[in-house]
Amino acid sequence: MHSASFDFIFVLLLLSDLALLGSSRFTILIRTVSAQGVLLGLLPLMTGEDGNTFRHYALAAGVIALKGVAFPFLLNRARRQAGVSREIQPLVGFSLSLLVGILALAFSIWMGFKLPRPMAGTSHLVVPMSLFTLFSGLFLIVARHKALTQVIGYLTMENGIYAFGVAMAYQEPLLVELGVMLDVFVGVFVMGIAIFHINREFDHIDTRQLSKLGDWPQSAPASPEDGFMEKEML
């Protein structure tokens, strides 16, 4: 019924994922993730085949409030408190990240063909796009160093799961979604606080340095220039 606008949301989702993969500034990352949240919030309204009930509106409002407003607010606060503005020296460069993103997209589309669709009516884009969002999130976690980017990665990943869930099983997503959303909410909250404290304690939120707290031998100690640069950027 809402097929065109439904697909449009998924295309926007794809673009936002690519934006996440390709940008280094935290403000842009947070803004993009917030936009993703709003898009996903609109999603329940598009799926209702026989008109939207109160439940749909409530879900939409809740999702937008959390993913579109609350999380970005928390992230922004964490960013300001930590005083970091951008991801420097990512593990995988930004253009290479985009390339990996394209590959992941191809893989997702292949998988979309392979995975059976539960309902005939759902759009072809649902499975590939939500999988791609999930992969983008995972990639952000793997390929970036700053703890803040990792939180954004987790959020993106959860967005993918959410998109998949709403589109696939819109009959009973409410309970599941509320559960997941609460989990993520607490997660982001805790991580925000943790980032603030880590930053205050160690003067940075670089996860490379944090892994040195473990007691295994370091194969390659970070060079002094490295640390210097970090300090300067902070």
Binding site: L91, L115, L138, R144, T207
Partner: protein, 661 residues
Amino acid sequence: MNWLLAAIGVWLAGGVGALLFASSATWATRIGVASVVLGSVAGMVPVLSTLFGGPVLEFQAAWAIPSGSFSLGLDGLSAFFLLPTLVVGSLAAIYGGEYLLSYRNTKNIGMPWFLYNWLMAGMAVVFLSRNALLFMMGWEIMTLSAAFLVFFDDAKGNVRTAGWMYLVASHIAMEFLLVLFIMLGQEAGSLDFAGFAGVSRSAWLSGFLFVCAVVGFGTKAGIMPFHIWLPEAHPAAPSHVSAVMSALLLKTGVYGLLRTLTFLGHYQEWWGWVLMGIGLTSALLGILFALAQSDLKRLLAYSSVENIGIIFIGIGIGVLGVSRGSAALATLGFCGALLHAINHSMAKGMLFLNAGCILHATGTRRINLLGGLSKRMPLEGGTFLVGALALCALPPMNGFLSEFWIYLGAYRMRGIPGSGVVMPSLVLLAGLALVGGFAAVAFSKAFGGAYLGQPRQPEPQHFHRPGWAMRGPLLALALICLLLVPALPWAATLTVPMVQALTGFEGREILEQISSVQTSLWPLAIFAGFLLSLAGTLAGIRWAVLRGRKIGAGTTWGCGYAAPTRRMQYSATSFSQPLAGFFALILQGRKTEEKADGFFPRSASQSNSIPDLYLEKIYRPLFLWIDSRLIRWRWIQHGRIQAYILYITLTLLFLLTWKLW
């Protein structure tokens, strides 16, 4: 069953309670000890009732975990192993209450009490569970809490090594148990024990399952060659925990093996031979290594290997008897194994507590530094003697009474149908006799070295005299050992339902065998009575002769020298040296010495250590080899979270792609 559920509940809650009150050592101890004792008393009610012919209890509850069910059962076998658990567990807890308080200024006392309570709960669940998943959960709780109790004194490097060895050995063994239960469950269609027994299997498959059970449960029981964690972990743990580990934790392995045997049914003959072979090796080598040790708790730990070996010989004889259709042999073997398990629990539990008293009082476990303690701690000395006599299997002590069944089984093996049993029977008899002799040497060394003679060191500055909370449990366990002497032959009748479940013979047949052994014990009892009365008479004569005369006290083992010093005494190591030297090929002791040089040597010294044969010759080279192969993959594990997430993602993607392809 409600009583037992309540007991488990009390233990779990008491453990958490002790943890909550950890800031006050006194309250943590009170709560920890009280909950162990309370739970044990509650559990005693159904255990005793079932053991004395009461009904077999069952409990079932729904459980959300897939293919798991919260089903518990209390039959004869469970009750038989639970009884020493409750008795020794609570006595050791009372003992530990005082023992651990000496750490109150340096350690968190709540933690060991939490672990101890959960260890009790874990063991109870292992003995009671009737579902493989529940069993494994209990097993894991038990293993982990015991491991962390071993880690208690973790500032010492060897304690950490011991704890790790225990953890690694237990978890390698657990893999075998997982395979065992998964294969049993796959055939039966459910992981409930009830379904395991009735399934018919090919001979190959039962054989494979049997091997898994022997490796998995045998590691926990501490049989050779899987015993290497045992002589490390038992000395490292606090003494009341060593007592629990040796007396109870090892028995969970024995219980597991027996329980698995009831699932497998249709025993094959070679199982019996394998068990007897393993048992005899463990018994012989275990006691040989025990007599060469100079660390008291290590000596006791190796002696546990020996006793578990004897229990395994019994089980092996029983399996052979069943496979050859001889009710006599089957009864002798299984009944002897079960009775010996009880005796070992009581006596070895007591000896470990006793060793703890010595450690507490003098601060050392090295027998060569001890001596003359029986003058200062007569109660400890007396109880040690009782336990040592029991474990040497000297008549008429309880240890002898249970080994008697196994001796008789080895002897009667020649009477069963089929051939090829004469030689093994002779080897077993000779081996058991040799083990008994070695045990006598080992315990003479331990008792003589620690309690007799004179102190080999100048009196320690702080001689902590153990209080009644520590001496009471010793006395109780020694009394139990003495009470078991008349009670044990009679108690054998109680094992009929267990032997019936294990062998499949009719209860009447088994009872007949048991009563025939009981009758054959009468001459022995008369002889023992004669010996005791002779000893009594001699003591009386001595008292009568010495009455009214002045008794002078000379130096013990003064050897008639004019001015003997304490350093001229035989040391414990020199006591066992002739035998240890004879078996030097097996023991391979390491000796470092500085020889006396010239006519007026300034200094000379010698030190010996007996590293474990299997550890040195098999496990260390094996693990070093594995390590050298694996070191090149070290770059995979470098501590970066991102990469770990990548590994997980790639694995999941691979699996998904593989499935979808």
